[in-house]
Amino acid sequence: MDLRLDGVTVEAAGRTLVHDLSLDVPDGGVVGLVGPNGSGKSTALRCVYRALRPTRGAVLLGGTDTTALSLRDSARSVAALTQENGGELDFTVAETVALGRTPHLRGNAPLSARERGLCRDAMERMDVAHLADRGVLTLSGGERQRVLVARCLVQEPEVLVLDEPTNHLDVRHQVGLLSLLRATGLTVLLVLHDLNLAAAVCDRIGVLEHGRLVAAGTPTDILTAPLVKRVFGVDAEVVAHPRTGDPQLLYTVRP
């Protein structure tokens, strides 16, 4: 299912957080949003997973304006990893993952055998099955992040929206998660801070600055030394990955 942001503008408290953002994520494509802190990346994602309503413009899901869908209906198609880290109640890992079934279940209906299987698979794929009975508040940041991704998978979405999914993850789990995203075949829109990971995983990258999309294209088109200098204010050498050819940035840290 393809996802399209069409002229999305978000205004709050007199400020324009996102300005006329248009972006296409084709069916099965992986599109990344990058940009400095406060450039409106998370705000744009919030509009997709319906935590925020655009002031103007629309988010289209398979051609349908999401505002025409109930929150529940869009949650059956779109799963989101937000920046919230799991709340304040000490749910177990298994309980948290099972909450991914919420949009598919009526009221307090218990999980079916198939749904319990889904939870088990998702926990195994995210390497948290051994934590199933642990309270989420006892987990490390990275473990908790993997639990929340498992919750997204259990939701059986067609579109995944991820706000900094590699946060807190060690290198093995960062690479593992992004490989898994590619392999699921889902339509993915994600925010990443690590430009090298973005270059490795994304088909296309959009660059946000002060709420505006200032560049969009393939990683090779986008991740150039001048753009990185202009948007992020950082000097970087761009080299091609010796095996994949993806652009990779080398930073220089001077004393």
Partner: protein, 372 residues
């Protein structure tokens, strides 16, 4: 590292040596809700029976049962038993049942309010319900309002005050970005102080001892005024409300993950919060109107229950009303029995028991609420 080289068809984050626990996805239970219920329901029944029998005039459980049967079916009893029967049927039974109902209600509402404002220190009164009720009740008593309602005037005044106060809190806490939990709590706390000031002012300008004792009743609570007349409305409100809250178990779980996560799971946090707000205001208002503001039950019971059965709201909301009811029946028994014939304000008992229990629980390892 293994995952980079994993075949694309079977992606997994798990290391190859990670053995999967086949029972891992089974809902884990610290204690099953059904097991807890199976213990608590008989315990509540026995507690009610004992509490009805115990007191200045002790009645054996068998006699208590006989009197209750007579009261329910209109059966006959011996003439010399009539005074005891009157005590059991007219005074103690409605009182103990009211204690059970209010305890159950405070337990359920405490869970709901803590979920609604996402704050472990919240209790049913945090949004100004009890202080609003006190103002309503004292105003009715002092100014003689609502006299057409007779003996129910004060309760009606308290109920009206409770609803007016929560409505005011709700309106003042609204903002263009929605009603945030913290804003609700802060508005509620601030307005509670305001209502207490209004009540103090009324008392100050009213030179009667009656008003002072009324304040003590509303702020400490008690079931001394229980009659068969006041029981049905509050019981119906509490039971219906608790069932609706229980049915909202999964949305409450989603809400606990955060407003954005809830929205991404198809649960509208604003709408759920509005439902919770109305429901808890009605329930608390109905309870405060007949029994004043009994403290600590609505704060402590949710935490105790989470420790027993875990944080999942479907289980917590099934068990919390039972724990609240059992606790309140015994607290009321202590309030009227410890220094008989005098009666301690109920709030002193619930606090004297509740505070140490709460402290012990918080110091227990393994109980986490919020950040470590």
């Amino acid at each position: 590292m293994p995952s980079t080289g994993a075949p694309p068809g079977a992606p997994t984050l798990a290391a190859p040596d990670a053995t999967a626990d086949p029972g891992a996805a089974r809902p884990p239970r610290r204690l099953g809700a059904s097991a807890a219920t199976a213990v608590l329901v008989p315990l509540l029944a026995v507690s009610v029976l004992l509490a009805i029998g115990l007191g200045s005039a002790g009645v054996a459980p068998a006699d208590t049962l006989r009197y209750l049967w007579a009261g329910l079916t209109g059966g006959t009893i011996r003439a010399d038993e009539v005074p005891t029967y009157q005590i059991v049927w007219q005074l103690r039974t409605p009182r103990v049942l009211l204690a059970a109902v209010v305890g159950a209600g405070l337990g359920a509402v405490g869970v709901a309010v803590q979920a609604m404002v996402r704050n472990p220190l919240a209790d049913p009164y945090v949004l100004g319900v009890s202080s609003g009720a006190s103002v309503g009740a004292v105003a009715v008593g002092v100014f003689g309002l609502l006299s057409a309602l007779g003996v129910y005037a004060v309760s009606a005044g308290a109920f009206a005050g409770a609803l007016a106060a929560t409505l005011l809190v709700h309106l003042l806490a609204r903002s263009p970005l929605g009603t945030t939990p913290l804003r609700l709590v802060l508005t509620g706390v601030a307005l509670s102080f305001g209502f207490q000031a209004v009540m103090s002012a009324i008392i100050y300008f009213t030179p009667s001892g009656e008003a002072t004792s009324a304040v003590l009743f509303w702020s400490m609570g008690g079931f001394g005024a229980a009659t068969w007349g006041v029981l049905p409305p509050v019981a119906a409100t509490v039971v219906a409300g608790a069932l609706v809250l229980r049915a909202l178990g999964r949305p409450l779980d989603a809400l606990a993950l955060g407003d954005e996560s809830a929205a991404s799971l198809g649960v509208d946090p604003t709408r759920v919060r509005r439902v919770l707000f109305g429901l808890t205001a009605l329930m608390t208002g109905a309870m405060v109107a007949v029994s004043g503001a009994v403290g600590f039950v609505g704060l402590v019971v949710p935490h105790v229950v989470r420790i027993l059965v875990g944080a999942g709201h479907r289980r917590v909301l099934a068990v919390a009303p039972l724990v609240g009811a059992v606790f309140m029946v015994w607290a009321d028994l202590a309030a009227r029995g410890l220094v008989a014939p005098r009666e301690l304000p109920l709030g002193t008992i619930t606090a004297l028991v509740g505070v140490p229990v709460f402290i012990v629980l918080l110091r227990r390892r393994g109980y986490l609420f919020g950040s470590r």
